[in-house]
Symmetry: C2
């Protein structure tokens, strides 16, 4: 493992000169540069990132914080989001470090930042308490929330518009003649799940259909929950004609339940999901759902974070992304009575 010094010695220059050519500083004589480059090649010199980090005070690492990883894991796009984050980050020469703070909830989210292992944090929403977010704000830790929000000063976030998502689904169903619309929620301790429920409630109330508690089934994102929801709904004296499932996995479970109980979807009951997982177009019937702009979410999050790392004074940035309806076959048009 050769160092800057070794290269300097070999090329008969100072370490600074070597450092300069490594950094592509243009004001190095062409001749010198070549001599240095040659030495670097011969010694197979690779800069030591740790030493660099210590003296420059920049680690070129970013942590992805997964507050309650079990939830996050059940989200189908967990893998994709890591993929796109890594991709965007690598464009900036940054590396991605995974941290599941599940193991020790009392540990502050910013530990990795406090110990100087990373320059900033990307935090996947779900169940972050306000006090934990407040701690970030106070310490002025460069960070960005995904799928979570906060109006505290200095807190950046990028999120999808859960209200738009539910509105879109609701309107679609309503347009197709449904008014007795049920909902299967995700784990309500997760913000996404909660927001979607609220949006649903609002729409039910606003549309003069009225909100009926009986029409919401509290799930937990799993297919099993969707399966159970089907049983619950058909047991009702007046079942819904359509249901909105907070994610596709539950919708798939719902469909399976229907098949087991000889209920026809969409003839007897319609269902729509959220996520557009791969399987959604291979269920029977194919699932009508909402596609999330994961790629964009990741890119925006990285851009925001990079900005806040570079310039800690920058005011906070909020991004709300919209999602797109993918119409397939799990809904039928109802002729209103």
């Amino acid at each position: 493992m050769s160092s800057l010094d070794d290269v300097a010695k070999m090329a008969k220059v100072s370490v600074m000169t070597v450092s300069r050519v490594v950094h592509g500083d243009p004001k190095v004589k062409e001749q010198t540069r070549e001599r240095v480059l040659e030495a670097i090649r011969i010694l197979d010199y690779q800069p030591n990132a740790i030493a660099r980090a210590l003296s420059s005070n920049k680690t070129m690492n970013v942590a992805l914080i997964l507050p309650k990883i079990e939830h996050v894991l059940s989200e189908p796009y967990f893998g994709s989001i890591i993929y796109y984050l890594e991709k965007a980050l690598s464009q900036h020469q940054y590396n991605l470090l995974i941290d599941s703070s599940e193991h020790g909830e009392k540990k502050e989210m910013s530990t990795l930042y406090d110990t100087r292992k990373v320059d900033g944090l990307i935090i996947i929403g779900s169940t972050i308490s306000d006090t934990r977010i407040a701690a970030l704000s106070e310490k002025n830790v460069p960070s960005v929330l995904i799928h979570a929000r906060s109006e505290l000063s200095g807190i950046n976030y990028v999120d999808i518009d859960n209200h738009q998502v539910v509105d879109c689904l609701f309107s679609y169903l309503y347009k197709h003649g449904h008014s007795r619309i049920g909902m299967i929620t995700g784990d309500l301790s997760v913000l996404n799940a909660y927001d979607r429920l609220v949006a649903y409630k609002n729409r039910m109330i606003a549309s003069a259909i009225g909100y009926d508690e009986e029409l919401v089934y509290e799930g937990d994102w799993t297919s099993k929950a969707g399966y159970d929801a089907l049983q619950y709904f058909i047991g009702l004296s007046s079942p819904p004609t359509a249901v909105i499932s907070s994610n596709d996995h539950m919708a798939i479970g719902f469909i399976k339940g229907a098949s087991d109980y000889n209920i026809s979807i969409p003839d007897d009951i319609s269902v729509v999901g959220i996520d557009d997982i791969e399987i959604a177009s291979f269920s029977t019937p194919r699932l009508t759902t909402i596609r999330q702009p994961i790629h964009t979410i990741a890119e925006m999050a990285v851009e925001t974070l990079m900005r806040s790392i570079k310039d800690k004074g920058v005011r906070s940035s909020q991004t709300i992304l919209h999602a797109e309806l993918i119409e397939r076959e799990s809904c039928k048009t109802l002729v209103r009575a």
Copy 2:
């Protein structure tokens, strides 16, 4: 951001004493220790991991290398493996860094190690070339392969036994009266896919059924490929009575295809998958498949890597794990002619 020095000053001791209490060295007088601890508390001292790494030459980071992330992403357990790796690693105070070397194939896998950003590498198999593995071996980089193998000295790996997996499925099908058995492969540039195909071939040849090229459909892990495979197989003059799908996603696509073409599964044709994804028990029919011991794979990989980081002299370790058949309803018993 306070440093060891600050604490030392406040507690009126040397930095070494502070360092000792931070590391829990028992030979520090109780009184002194308390004074130091108090100072640490007051100053909210957090050790600087970078400085520590520079002087101790250990980063306490491990990289997860994903050679071709698109493939890896399509594997359903991608998220889980990250989860379990992180969990096992954190037990050793290690952090997980994600690196998709996709972005620049010429870059050596060990770059992160060479630049001292990590102490070792966990490499997810798929499409690693032998020369890249050889480079690791030569440089003596602490590392472990998952889902890949190599007999080069110093190369550790943990893998599932693809032959056992396929044998198990094959025997199950055979026991149920099937002999004309087809196969849907994954992307054949991925080792897992290739090995499974070879295992299938071997069994076909060995069992006097004979190997018939017509019976293998080359897929790419996606549900779409499974769907297309169904069409292909039913188009054959003599279709298989059962097919082994290299993963569950393709099996689900296959099932959907059958439903679209009015073929009954398992009555007209049986199918088995590999992975046991959540949805596998919510398809119609529920999918018979093989469950992979992901949790164990991750733990073994971490143990192996930790050992090789600690003691570079240690001889290489090979672990082959077995998987378990999950019997559900996608297979029927055939009465042999």
